[in-house]
Symmetry: C2
């Protein structure tokens, strides 16, 4: 118990100091470390394994919906960035620039990609001739650099990993549908894989992507009641295709500009998982993305047959496709229990002499911190069923938490109270930017997404005016 306390003490109190809790957890579970350049992070094996699991699940979904992977150069000519006016205005302040390469000053400075619309457009304009070449639905897994003032591991770093999809189409309907389809793909992925309910909907004019006609976002509620933008999809209409001159010969023998979308999620998702599911003991990882799904710990391992049985169990689970770790390190079981709990492993299996005698293994569920036993016979089937149960339970728990933390704000007074109670507010908004500015000024809150819901009152929550364009929106404080 002394050890346990000591271990737990290393992590700040989740209720008292959530930001410090987050920092403690990401560093102490060795998900990341700070890199030598300010604002950069090293993603360590335990963190990277989560990213690999996210990649595998998402990539399969992208391919199943007709997208192809590719890789575009990271260095973009500065002049290419300048072609779309809003886009350059949005990204120019954050870019890293290369002026010298190979010992020589370059004739034109290069931009390290903050996102790749400009260079995709440049190549699309070369590749596309006729309607037969459309749609072209590409994706790349890549690193991007955005030089931001404040930094936080996974949430905001000067370099991060992501995927960026870029698609072009012959008609507006098709590119718009792609924008919406990918938003739903992200939403379903978050629900089914990350066990994380999200709100999806259109972003406000102010919050949309630089150069987009419309941006859609996926917002997840963190345990401190703040919102985290976990993914976005953008509809460009023909804004970029006109700026970069991407045309095709249509069936009616006329030349037309293509219609375009882009969409992305990043290593930020790892931050979302941590803050949506964690607890005082550390990480709580959904089985589908946990690098280790089951840890097997021999108890009283000096007793005859214990190591052998623990090894046998681990192998049986591994052969059944479960990601399993057998912990035979020279440490006490208690020490190991704490470590694997902090690391959020969904199931801990203890194999000791008494368990073996009874033909069972003792298990502990990370999500509920409850203990029980399962038979050693067909243990892989039991473990799989338990992992599925945990995955579902984690989603249900998150959903219940979220639903109990979303409240209707009929007035600004109510809105302030809701936000101070660490909840999301549903407001009715007339899309007036002045009201949006008021949310920010008064409450440091922003319009996260506008929902496809009927307004619950006939006046704007902020200004109290009637309008033909009332929308229900989520207003929250955000990461």
């Amino acid at each position: 118990m002394a050890q346990q306390k000591q271990f737990v003490r290393e992590i700040a109190d989740i209720n008292e100091n959530f930001p410090q809790w987050y920092t403690d957890v990401v560093l102490k579970t060795q998900l990341v470390d700070y890199g030598p350049v300010k604002g950069t992070m090293v993603i360590r094996p335990y963190g990277y394994a989560i990213w690999e699991n996210i990649q595998r699940e998402l990539d399969a979904r992208f391919k199943a919906t007709g997208h192809q992977n590719c890789y575009f150069p990271m260095l973009i000519p500065h002049s290419l960035l300048l072609k779309e006016a809003e886009h350059v205005e949005g990204f120019a302040p954050e870019v890293a620039m290369v002026h010298i390469a190979g010992g020589e000053k370059l004739s034109e400075p290069l931009v390290v990609r903050p996102t790749s619309e400009t260079i995709f457009c440049n190549m699309f304009s070369k590749w596309i001739n006729s309607y037969r070449d459309l749609p072209m639905k590409l994706n790349q897994w890549a690193n991007v650099v955005r030089w931001e003032k404040t930094t936080r591991p996974f949430l905001r770093t000067s370099e991060f990993l992501w995927q960026e999809g870029h698609t072009i189409h012959a008609t507006r309907d098709e590119s718009f549908q792609e924008t919406i389809d990918m938003l739903h793909l992200y939403h379903d992925f978050a629900r089914d894989v990350l066990a994380m309910p999200t709100f999806i909907g259109q972003k406000s004019e102010k919050e949309k992507f630089a150069g987009a006609e419309a941006t859609y976002g996926m917002e997840a509620m963190m345990l401190d009641g703040k919102s985290l933008q976990a993914g976005t999809t953008h509809h460009f209409g023909q804004k970029f295709s006109k700026a970069y001159d991407i045309t095709f010969l249509d069936k009616d023998s006329t030349h037309k500009h293509v219609w375009q979308s882009s969409w992305g999620v990043s290593t930020r998702l790892i931050g979302a998982i941590i803050m949506a599911h964690g607890d005082q003991r550390g990480l709580v990882l959904p089985p589908k993305i946990a690098p280790v799904q089951v840890v097997v710990i021999p108890v009283a391992s000096h007793k005859p047959g214990v190591i052998e049985k623990a090894t046998e169990v681990a192998n049986e689970l591994r052969n059944a496709g479960i990601r399993v770790e057998l912990d035979t390190r020279d440490q006490s079981p208690g020490w190991k229990f704490n470590e694997w709990e902090m690391k959020g492993v969904p199931v801990r299996l203890e194999v000791g002499p008494r368990d073996i005698e009874n033909g069972v293994a003792t298990y502990s569920r990370r999500d509920t911190c409850t203990k029980d036993t399962m038979p050693l016979e067909n243990i892989a089937d039991s473990a799989k069923a338990l992992l599925d149960e945990i995955q579902t339970a984690m989603y249900q728990k998150s959903l219940a938490f979220r639903d109990s933390h979303v409240k209707y704000a009929h007035t600004m007074e109510e809105l302030g109270q809701i936000l101070d109670d660490k909840c999301f507010a549903k407001v009715v908004w007339d899309e007036d930017p002045e009201c949006e500015a008021m949310f920010k000024d008064k409450f440091q809150a922003t319009v996260r997404v506008m929902l496809d819901e009927e307004p619950f009152q006939d006046v704007c929550t902020c200004c109290g005016k009637k309008s033909d364009h009332l929308r229900v929106a989520i207003v929250a404080r955000a990461y």
Copy 2:
């Protein structure tokens, strides 16, 4: 036939102009395109799918041998690069530098990684305390930038994709063994997956990696008789661990510097595959890395039942785990045959009315360009067996080609003749740098690797002197 000729004419003659053939093939099969910045390439979906297959196969092998993936920042403080003298001398001329980011001049310029030894060492020195932390065997899949004067898609571009393994160990024996083990892992991978025989062995002092104690290389023979360095592994001894102060407390309670290795292969492997297996019609891809393993082409598809049967066959193959494409485009079968041949798809299956009547599909093997039929019943099994056969046959063909193009050079005169005959030469070499310089000056050839073979004569092929240190080496012209 007119179409076929026209198609083939688009590719330069492989015997007359091999470099142009290569460029034609990579561009026309849409493996790559040139990026907007000189020296950069866009890896298009067909090329990237090959890289994904390479990654999947290699990554499984890395993990099976106890390596873990991670991701390190791309931007390295300039001062960090300067710590190991030989290393900086080797890489400084090629680096791209960031001086401005986020609109401000940085206090210290940053280097875009040309390789990541320096930043791995920087973190190792923070992470390692005791022998319990060792070995640490990390790998990352990443992009790197090296600003080179001459460029060629896949072979030499200013940015490329690769994996870089970085491992640290408690003893010299262990780090040395890792260096050798990974060399053999690459060799076996090239043989079993790329169907490509390679020579492996130590590099000369002149050719070794900047900062390494010893470098080992894997060299493959291209169809023009030139050698391509397809992978390298490096043993650093304690050179970097002393420069970056990476120490651990050993079991004997003394502080020691760790022993280190690194190793990598890159998208260059795609260039190797093209030049090791291609022919006049274009690409010839080994089944294990082919993005499309079988293409199904309906013949006389307006006839009743043809499209249906072709679709059924394609689905059956897909369900059996074969990467299959059903080509129902509105083009003639001949046009499609040419396109898929150029793209190197291992097996083409034609499904026409007569085939269906006879209960068969007509197939064409890309490696031999021979045609035959296979029964429609259990067609997935037949197709799998055929793919395996092609994989093996391609390796045997490459091996026979290579073995018939390696000759013993007893004298410089013989060496010149062998190289002019577009062969590799085995020489006996006394490791004198002057002899190495002579190979270069007289024949534009280099020592590729030193082999673990007994010298076939007792004097150096170059200088004719006797020596205690005679080594058998491969001398060849190289990419």
